[in-house]
């Protein structure tokens, strides 16, 4: 596996305000890398740098070992991005899908290639004649994706591709991007709030918060509001009334963001432990994903909040956990970080 991107001492400023700061980030090729974090955390800014839409205010980006300033057009054009709410040209669907090929003066068999790209996102040939104004939000998003897939890119960057689209369109988009990976070995960078999807398909996840990378891997972010107990410690009150006390947090503010690593959360099956004796949080297993060969990532819902925990395959076999099972969730609050 070799480095595709290397970012060093990157800073991006808008109107004098720092919106992104990355000391070092390496992204490998032929992987699916998920980016997550709250709105305004810098995902779109990072994507605009990775897709060469904008240049960093400070720092260096290397793509395939070449600094972005010295890169040729072919290398730049091998990276394409579907931005959040992509813009469709005021032309027909056919012209929109074919536009990238025309930019590259690559128009051989253009009709067949447009129809093929439309089919990849589940759109019929008859759609090619439609005007941009005759599409629903989900259809427009799929047309924008088809316009990128037709280019068979080396890197495909998707900024919240399933946000605001119907379930059917979201499913077709998910299938189409995976197909790009399988068919052309495309490296995928995906920003999404759909943690379940990211857990399911990503080789690696990168968490961003307030313009900084907080962890590359599986982390949990617990956001404000926090309450204070009688000793002044932070207490997270979940929607179902369950409470998580953070010890030794007297000096922390109520708007703090707490980062908990996935291996700091342990799960115990309610069948193994008497539920009455469980003093930890109660949760329900919502999904199980393979993270590494010997480890699994279990997503558990506690009072509407999703928590990821890393469990060894041996432990998993011992506990025999399945989605839907009730579990005791213990959070080791000694190893948490405040952001």
């Amino acid at each position: 596996m070799s480095n595709l991107y290397e970012l060093n001492n990157i800073e991006q400023h808008y109107d004098g305000k720092k919106v992104l700061s990355i000391d070092n980030l390496t992204l490998d090729q032929n992987q699916i890398i998920g980016f997550f974090g709250p709105n305004g955390s810098g995902k779109s800014t990072l994507f605009s740098l990775l897709s060469f839409v904008s240049k960093p205010s400070l720092g260096k980006i290397e793509f395939q070992g070449i600094e972005n300033k010295k890169m040729n057009l072919d290398a730049r054009q091998s990276v394409v991005m579907v931005p959040q709410n992509p813009y469709l040209l005021k032309r027909s669907v056919f012209d929109n899908v074919a536009y990238g090929l025309k930019l590259r003066n690559d128009t051989s068999d253009i009709n067949e290639r447009v129809y093929e790209a439309l089919a990849l996102v589940g759109l019929d040939i008859s759609f090619s004649k439609r005007k941009w104004s005759q599409l629903s939000g989900g259809e427009a998003q799929r047309v924008a994706l088809a316009a990128r897939l037709i280019l068979k890119p080396k890197v495909l960057i998707l900024d919240e591709p399933t946000a605001g689209v119907d379930t059917n369109s979201a499913q077709l988009i998910k299938e189409a991007v995976l197909m790009a990976k399988q068919k052309w070995n495309t490296t995928l960078f995906i920003a999404s709030h759909d943690h379940n999807w990211l857990n399911h398909i990503c080789d690696k996840k990168v968490a961003l918060f307030q313009g900084e990378i907080v962890e590359s891997g599986s982390v949990n972010l617990l956001f404000a509001p926090w309450e204070k107990d009688s000793n002044g410690n932070l207490v997270k009150v979940f929607l179902d009334g369950q409470r998580l006390l953070i010890e030794n947090s007297e000096h922390k503010k109520r708007d703090s963001v707490v980062m908990v690593n996935s291996d700091a959360i342990t799960l115990t099956s309610m069948e193994l432990e008497n539920s009455l004796e469980c003093h930890a949080l109660h949760g329900v297993v919502s999904s199980i994903h393979q993270q590494q060969e010997d480890f699994l990532l279990i997503e558990t819902t506690v009072g509407g909040v999703c928590l990821n925990s890393k469990i060894s395959r041996a432990e998993m076999q011992k506990q025999k956990l399945l989605p839907g099972d009730k579990v005791c969730v213990t959070v080791n609050t000694e190893n948490i970080c405040y952001i």
Partner: protein, 231 residues
């Protein structure tokens, strides 16, 4: 009211009889206004794009100057053009004064600020996502300019029509640097001024109706074109 009906009847008569002086004025008007509009578009579209698209120091000052030039009286443009093209002026050696070329130069000065200002406004109003989408597809700067102008085509057409309307109806420039020479630099507007000055109001109104018909035809053609694009 008789003046208008007589004027309308005479306009038809003049056009149907193939009156040489009228057709010469119409031809001169179409020739100079078309050339001046085309050259204004050629220069004004890239400048308008640059003004609307890029951020640069002094942009607001340039914008204010361009907006101010929109209100420049045609007689002042005519006067400046006259000074430049007269024998003692910096362009005197080209002997352009009292020629159709002189009118075209003056009308470019008239049309250019309109094209630049309205194109800049249209480019500024183009959805900001367009740039990200085009760059994200790997478009080069010239391809972004092209696509942006095509996306803003309806607004730019309005700019062209506005500029054309101002150009074909101006009289100050045509009179001052054209000299109103029959069969040569006499345009419809200078002919109207001449006929009215001679007391030939009906002929003046007839020519006015011809001018109005020309403007109407341009607008109808563009409206049909616009409808074709949107459907």
């Amino acid at each position: 009211m008789n003046l208008f009906t007589d004027g309308f009847n005479q306009a038809l008569e003049l056009l149907l009889s193939g009156n040489n002086s009228v057709y010469s004025a119409i031809s001169a008007t179409i020739t100079v206004s078309t050339w001046s509009l085309l050259i204004s578009l050629l220069i004004g579209l890239p400048l308008g794009f640059a003004l609307g698209y890029y951020k640069f120091p002094g942009k607001s000052i340039v914008r204010t100057i361009v907006d101010t030039l929109l209100a420049l009286p045609t007689v002042v443009i005519g006067l400046i053009a006259y000074t430049m093209l007269s024998q003692s002026g910096p362009l005197g050696e080209f002997n352009l004064l009292f020629s159709q070329s002189a009118i075209i130069i003056g009308q470019i000065v008239l049309g250019l600020p309109i094209i630049i200002a309205l194109t800049a406004a249209q480019v500024e109003s183009v959805d900001k996502r367009l740039y990200t989408s085009l760059k994200g597809l790997g478009a080069r700067p010239i391809q972004i300019l092209n696509a942006t102008l095509i996306e803003a085509r309806f607004g730019i057409m309005t700019a062209a029509v506005t500029a054309y309307g101002r150009i074909i109806t101006e009289i100050g420039i045509s009179m001052m640097v054209g000299g109103n020479i029959k069969y040569h630099t006499r345009t419809v507007t200078t002919a109207i001024a001449l006929e009215t000055g001679k007391g030939e109001f009906v002929t003046g109104i007839a020519l006015g109706i011809v001018l109005f018909a020309m403007a109407l035809m341009v607008n109808i053609s563009l409206s049909i074109l616009k409808r074709g694009w949107t459907q």
